[in-house]
Amino acid sequence: MADEVQTPESDDEGARRREFLYLATLGVGAVGAAAFAWPIIDSMNPAADVLALSSVEVDLGPIQVGQSITVKWRGRPVFIRRRTPDEIKAARVAELAELIDPQPDEERVQQPEWLILVGVCTHLGCIPLGQKSGEPRGDYGGWFCPCHGSHYDTSGRIRFGPAPKNLEVPGYTFLDDSTVRIG
């Protein structure tokens, strides 16, 4: 029986093997759990049908200079404003250095007259006022978000208030002079 007594070396060897098996099992288990976690997390992301509802066509014909309309796109409002020459000028003379989120007006429109924006305040997601006549348009003549007081200018850029970014410009294409497709 004496030759079956384990020497310290063979004990060490056993411990190392056990440790390896232990770590390997844990590692495979962790990879498996992670692989399973992703489908669970991703199932909460927008589903195919939600993604499919992603473009609308708008007839711009009836909109007069100075008027705005709101259309619904992906559950959110899109602001379309046919800007007056004064509004365009105001948007273009603004000093970029003064802006919270500097971006020239030229980069925010395809045709100077037509300003198209996602009408969701970049602070916490309220809908800014200023689409209908009589609504406050803030200190910069664009939009005013009543929730926490963000002021946007005639290019939809944030000028004052807690919102960090300009109103988002959605992807859009002019199909002809008076039709635009958003999305």
């Binding site: 709101t70 559950g75 602070h123 960090p164």
Partner: protein, 420 residues
Amino acid sequence: MATKTEFNNPVIRWVDERLPVFTYLDHEYNQFPMPKNLNYWWNFGALASVALVVMILTGIMLAMQYTAHVDLAFESVERIMRDVNYGWLLRYIHMNGASMFFIVVYIHLFRGLYYGSYKAPRELLWMLGVVIILLMMATAFMGYVLPWGQMSFWGATVITNLFSAIPIVGDWIVTWLWGGFSVDNPTLNRFYALHYLMPFVLFAVVGLHVVALHVNGSTNPTGVEVQSPRDTVSFHPYFTAKDSVGLVAFLFVFAAFVFFAPNFFGEPDNYIKANPLQTPPHIVPEWYFLPFYAILRAVPDNFIGAWMGFTLISAKLAGVIAMFGSIAVLFLLPWLDTSKVRSARFRPWYKWFFWLFLLDCLLLGYIGSQPAEGIFIWIGRGATAWYFAHFLVFFPLLGWFETPKPLPTSISEPVLKEDS
């Protein structure tokens, strides 16, 4: 404590020998030694448990009638109010129950602050309590979305948008939370699933809270630990009776709201169906979130920028950090308070700071209910600064500079002295 209780009833004895639930109940709720000098502020834990059970019961009954779909949710709640037998009662109990639950838990928390209940060896007990508050907030927030009124929708929009403040992954997280590009049907569905689930998680955490409590037992108004059986009385009948008195009073108040002012805590705008294209002029959260809402809005635009010379984080992110930080400091409180003395009764300065802090929280609540303009902005900033100073400056300093009053040697001592 592992000693078994002997029961006379043979059925109970048979069960208890195989699954000692009766022994457990007997130890923890019958014989359990309670400090004999507890006042009525010690009722609120029991009241909170009752409130939780009421919420779960009425919630399950509502769930049998409710439809989680953007086209039907609002109508299904109106149907509960008009057509379902006693539906109005179930809903009003559930609606006001949320407010009652928060009142009771907030009082419970301030009791802890006054009497120093968070100090060693009860730090984990306290931290589990803070977890309970967080879970309650998440549950109530998602519940409030379910009736799909204007405040439901816009409250959900504003709060979920908070996560967009997180750098880099923020927008991705918000889309993920919504399951779309705005708060919409997928959002309503998942909130419903979670609103059903979370109260049961809450129930489990309350269980842990009670287990942790029963390791060292309750503190008491003197803050001096129990030293001998002379300092205690058994839970039953002494505190079952005292808790019952408090419970009746609580139910009176609860019922008064349910039957006479059911919409007192509510917002009229939530009886208008959600409209994703129109923000109500003034979005306010439920009253129990107002102080936190005030803190969220208090951080000035370029505070961080002006302070460090460059903008590290936006005002939006700073506000969000401040809001979550206002709860996070509660977790740290056991280590921020450097005083060896528990109860404010023996802390002449802390006592004042406690009341000032309570006033500060009420003030923040008021500011949260007002539009963020003019003087309100400045008051909100001051009150927020005081809130954090209370934890991060006053608590550590008071422990050093305050001279506590002499402590009684035991719970019984002051009583015996009065007698002689």
